[in-house]
């Protein structure tokens, strides 16, 4: 079994293992220290002191945005617990929530938290035996605004300018609005080649959600996942298509997951009085400055991203994704629950987050948030 799971992971495991051996020791310590309440009779024989002794299959899925990170985490976790097979099916956030509620998945990834708009929160509570489900932010990834302009290495864009460019209202690089943001840059008098995703995309959804929140005058199409035809511009398939188009174009600009920006110029986005680049720290900070969403509880760490924040050093254009799980697992799900607890514990551990950042370019959770999340996962009980 573990063999087949290794084949499915497109990463060099030997290499991973080498990197993870020190991590393994630390992780076991963490789990030993705080995992004493899951010693139920169905638990693994040696108790919780040894993740390595866990065995079984854990099949879950959900948001495709998490896919690259999940693959990294699965590889990392399998190195720690070699007898466990974890699979993550990137069927999308909606499918993830559906399968979590129907108990097909012991946990799921979702780009949005549970609400009762369509009764999902109630259904999930029911699925978890009447206890509110756990909702944890585990994946935060900055969306970078990438550009390729002759003779320009650094570009500052205020939200209104950014929205104007992508809405097709600002068409030349030497436009007054851009020049005002970049007093020192030598901007060419060339048409702007704005590149967007031509396929339906969650990245477009997050990006336009930001634009419509901070610059609703310039961007009046709202939050959309398919680019509005009337805004024009160059369309490209997938993140790699956008990156290639920006690279191959002249005087081009686009948006893509920050980890994929590879070598291109990355614009600083106006936040308050300053311009901030999409670093992992700046992206992680948005969760600190954002207010908790309505319905947040001790076990549901959900946020409404505050795109309008003026907090210094915060990068606002981010994609956040959540883990959905139950507070307790019993009966048939006890074994899966045990594995879920261990796996989620690994994801939010310092090693897991660092590994995700390295392999998938996500922003590690801040120490403060990480501690809270870890505490909630430690509180999962197996009966």
């Amino acid at each position: 079994m573990p063999l087949s799971s290794r084949e499915a992971i497109p990463l060099k495991l030997t290499h991973l293992r080498r990197a993870l051996v020190p991590g393994l020791a630390a992780l076991t310590l963490v789990l030993t220290a705080c995992g004493s309440d899951d010693d139920g009779d169905t638990g693994s024989g040696s108790g919780s002191d040894d993740t390595a002794s866990l065995s079984g299959t854990l099949a879950a899925g959900g948001a495709s945005s998490q896919q690259a990170a999940q693959e990294a985490w699965i590889a990392g976790f399998t190195a720690v617990a070699p007898d466990v097979t974890v699979t993550y099916d990137p069927i999308g956030s909606g499918g993830g929530r559906e399968n979590f509620i129907s108990a097909a998945f012991p946990f799921a990834g979702s780009d949005s938290y549970l609400t009762d708009d369509e009764g999902e929160l109630t259904a999930a509570t029911e699925r978890c035996g009447g206890e509110a489900p756990i909702e944890l932010p585990n994946y935060v990834s900055p969306i970078a605004v990438i550009f390729n302009i002759d003779g320009v290495d650094e570009l500052n864009l205020s939200p209104d300018t950014l929205a104007g460019i992508f809405a097709g209202k600002i068409t030349k690089w030497d436009d007054k609005a851009i020049a005002a943001d970049n007093p020192d840059a030598k901007l060419p008098s060339a048409p702007i080649d704005a590149v967007h995703r031509s396929d339906e995309s969650g990245t477009t959804g997050n990006f336009t959600n930001y634009l419509s929140t901070v610059a609703s005058d310039a961007w009046d199409a709202g939050e959309i996942e398919i680019w509005p035809k009337s805004y024009g511009g160059q369309g490209a398939q997938g993140t790699s298509g956008v990156v290639d188009a920006v690279k191959g174009g002249t005087n081009s600009i686009g948006y893509a997951d920050a980890s994929q920006a590879g070598g291109l110029g990355v614009a600083n986005i106006g936040v308050g009085d300053e311009f901030v680049g999409p670093t992992a720290e700046a992206a992680a900070k948005i969760l600190e400055v954002s207010p908790e969403a309505e319905g947040a509880t001790d076990t549901a760490l959900i946020f409404d991203l505050d795109y309008n924040t003026t907090e210094s050093g915060t990068y606002p254009i981010v994609l956040t994704s959540y883990l959905l799980a139950c507070q307790s697992y019993s009966g048939d799900e006890a074994e899966a629950g045990e594995l879920t607890k261990a796996y989620l514990g690994y994801i939010v551990s310092e090693d897991g987050q660092a590994f995700g950042a390295e392999e998938a370019g996500s922003a590690p959770l801040s120490a403060d948030l990480s501690e809270k999340v870890q505490g909630i996962i430690d509180g999962i009980t197996i009966e």
């Binding site: 048409p191 080649d193 339906e200 398919i226 024009g232 160059q234 398939q237 188009a245 174009g249």
Partner: protein, 314 residues
């Protein structure tokens, strides 16, 4: 005349004397093979009809925010046909030239290798063509497009603003390269079928080589060349991955071949959006597939008809 892609003439099969076991087994197998392909085709058509039917009355969100299915599919169909026509404009003369070079002009040894090289083009996966178009060709042709936009804008095809190279013209070029091997291979074989006696007679009457080709090879090969074009056109109409990667798919109806806003094609649009589609959007995409199926079918049918009409003359 026939192309070499067709099976041997039917007189090879004597109809009345099939008493032997081998004969009946073989004829059974052949019939089964023929029926299988008909069933597969019918299956595809039925699937497209059933799954696409709900889209006919769809509006709003189901047809990606358009008023109805016609408004949604028409620009895609336009882009599909435009890309295919552009591809044929580039590919057809080039393919005939290459085929003639191989069959009548190049020294035999060179011709053989040239033939291999062209055939190899057909073995390149379309994703590779797509990558090449997007990474190499699009940036390469951009300066040319800019020049066309600056100096040729009195033609409706070349309107500024030109901001990128991933236009329908580039897609047409990539499609032309992809359709080239099919057209060339068939044309080459057809040209080689020209009776030697005809050619020699023409030469004996004092014709130059070009006159000989015009008088004997072209009339003889006409229907075969048209069949080849139709097959190439079919390839260009249905190509998915390469177009999805090369073309900046915008869904506009425009004859501006180099501008920022570009059309999309049916196949590319399905490739781009099927992954994220759910519910009634899937019906909409399948319906657009049905439209493409019908158009391809019509093109093939027209090709057959033209080819058959030409056959009477020769």
């Amino acid at each position: 005349m026939t192309t070499t892609t067709e099976p041997p003439a039917p007189e090879a099969e004597p109809r009345t004397s099939s008493h032997r076991l081998g004969d009946s087994v073989f004829s059974g197998l052949a019939t089964a093979a023929g029926l299988t392909i008909m069933l597969a085709l019918a299956g595809v058509a039925i699937f497209l009809l059933i799954e696409g039917a709900p889209a006919i009355t769809a509006t709003g969100e189901s047809v990606y925010g358009e008023d109805n299915i016609v408004v949604y599919v028409w620009p895609l169909l336009y882009g599909t046909i435009l890309a295919a026509i552009l591809a044929m404009i580039f590919a057809a003369p080039l393919a005939i030239g290459i085929a003639l070079a191989i069959s009548h002009y190049a020294p035999r040894r060179v011709a053989t290798y040239l033939g291999y090289a062209i055939d190899l083009l057909a073995a390149v996966p379309s994703v590779v063509y797509g990558l090449w178009g997007r990474v190499v060709l699009a940036p390469l042709v951009l300066p040319l497009y800019v020049w066309l936009g600056d100096h040729m804008s009195w033609l409706p095809f070349f309107q500024p603003p030109v901001t990128h190279g991933r236009t329908i013209l580039t897609a047409g070029l990539v499609l032309a390269v992809m359709a080239l091997p099919i057209i060339t291979a068939i044309c080459r074989e057809v040209f080689l079928q020209t009776p030697r006696m005809h050619e020699e007679a023409a030469l004996a009457l004092g014709a130059t080589r070009w006159e000989m080709i015009r008088m004997t090879v072209f009339p003889y090969a006409r229907s075969g060349v048209i069949s080849a074009m139709m097959l190439g056109l079919g390839r260009a109409l249905g190509e998915t991955m390469a177009v999805a990667m090369v073309l900046s798919a915008g869904g506009f109806v425009t004859i501006n071949l180099i501008g920022t806003d570009q059309p999309s094609t049916i196949a590319a649009n399905i490739a781009l959006n099927f992954g994220n589609a759910s519910g009634s959007k899937i019906n909409t995409l399948i319906f657009s597939g049905l439209v493409l199926f019908v158009v391809s079918f019509a093109v093939n049918f027209a090709g057959r008809w033209i080819a058959a009409r030409g056959e009477v003359k020769s």
